[in-house]
Amino acid sequence: MENSIEVVEIQKTFQQQTAIEDVSFQVKKGEIFGLLGPSGSGKTTTIKMLTGELGQTVGKIKVLGMESDQIGSAEFKAKIGILSDNSSLYERLTIYDNLKLFCRLYNAPMRRIDAILRDVNLHGEKSKTVSKLSKGMKQRVLLAKALIHEPELVFLDEPTSALDPGNAAHIHQGLRRLNEAGTTIFITTHNMEEASALCDRVTFLNHGKIVELDRPGELQYKYSTHAFHVETFDGEQLVINNTPDQAERIKELIATNQMKAIHTDEPTLGQVFLKVTGEELV
């Protein structure tokens, strides 16, 4: 499958400090790829290098088939959408005026404004002045701004950080629809549920280095103890290993009607991160 992003052994050094070291990964076309890591791990630096806001010190980056020297060109910018902590809106203007500006800058049809506002659950609010919006509503307008031109590849830095669960779920639905239509999504998030639910593959970045990269389910399986946690009607908590010799025990609990609940012990992505790095993902 064709890659939307190819990163080969990149390094980024600020003065004497290395922020990113020997990072390599590929993002397949049409994939939702999650970059996970604690604050200061290098997520934003990585996104900035992929979007041309920062140059890499060493290594090779190819995005949408374009090499580093073409990243930042008008052709490149027309194909990508960005939502980052650097994204902002014109506070004195309305939602509509803000989106109209970017529609015209990206040469997108004006009918996209209504469509994208529906996607971010802001239909009917377009005449509101941005300065009067809540933080969550502003975040949704920023997302609409990033997607107004139907980009091939979207970089989303913590897209639902300021949203309540209802609006976050609405955004997730919109992102899935966008992805089903063929858009590749590169996302950074602290929200492990979001990463598990949305991402096809995730990578863990810690102190500027990649420590894991796989499908969320595979990572959870890999770091599982493969044991079953059983609760009986007597209130007993049992840990039974997933081995052939323990099959009879599970069978007996079921046969004697003692089993109240049984769970596998697959860790959450947050727990996987903790196991891999010894650090909390905060």
């Binding site: 140059g55 109209k100 500006l101």
Partner: protein
């Protein structure tokens, strides 16, 4: 340059300008000064230096201060990054953003000079000098706006710019000897060169103003390039 992108930025800035009280008040100062001078003149024609003083005040308070405020606000609120991340080029962004301030400067300048009597400046040399001065003050405003990072910080820069480059003809009224190094240095400043161009026979002052324009343009370019990336 992409006309659609330039007009999109111009349209956005016009709407933003009309809702920005601080920017809307800027043209008041030079027009008020022109009215005051007219009142004080008793109907006599103004000397060239006084006409250029009003031109300098116009360009420093409307063009430079206006542009500085707009760019600093874009920089401070991080909206400039949104424009830079779009397919709009540096030229699209700068031309689009300069049009509103340019239009406002032109209207204010024409109104002020009509109040004072525009006739002495209706010649090729003076018109060229004013056009060059406009670009000098515009580039300076864009550069400082990008450099200063916040609207509040621009207030620290606007006064020196106004005093040095806008009010330069006032130096003659400070009673400093003409042989003084301060006056000799001030005479090389753009507005003083414009006075010399209008009153004299040489075209050399236009060349000197052009050097100031190039310097301001280079300053603006360096500041913009620095803003474009985080490197």
């Amino acid at each position: 340059m992409n006309v659609q992108r330039v007009s999109a930025i111009f349209e956005k800035d016009t709407k933003d300008f009309m809702k920005n009280t601080m920017l809307l008040m800027m043209p008041v100062v030079p027009i008020f000064l022109a009215l005051l001078y007219k009142q004080m003149s008793g109907g006599e024609a103004f000397p060239t230096f006084l006409l250029y003083l009003v031109v300098g005040i116009n360009l420093s308070t409307v063009t430079t201060a206006g542009m500085m405020t707009m760019m600093a606000e874009e920089n401070e609120k991080k909206t400039l990054r949104g424009l830079i991340q779009s397919p709009a080029s540096i030229v699209d962004i700068l031309v689009g953003k300069s049009l509103v301030v340019g239009l406002m400067s032109l209207i204010t300048l024409i109104v002020s000079l009509f109040i004072m009597g525009i006739e002495p400046l209706l010649n090729l040399k003076s018109i060229l000098a004013i056009i060059f001065l406009f670009f000098f003050f515009l580039f300076l405003g864009i550069g400082i706006g990008l450099f200063s990072k916040s609207v509040a910080a621009t207030s620290a820069y606007i006064m020196p710019v106004m005093l040095l480059f806008g009010f330069t003809p006032m130096f003659e009224l400070l009673g400093i000897s003409e042989d003084s190094i301060v006056i000799k240095f001030a005479d090389t400043f753009p507005v003083m060169q414009a006075i010399e161009l209008t009153d004299g026979n040489s075209w050399l002052p236009l060349g000197i103003i052009a050097i100031w324009v190039l310097g301001a343009g280079l300053f603006m370019y360096v500041c913009f390039k620095k803003t474009m990336t985080d490197d």
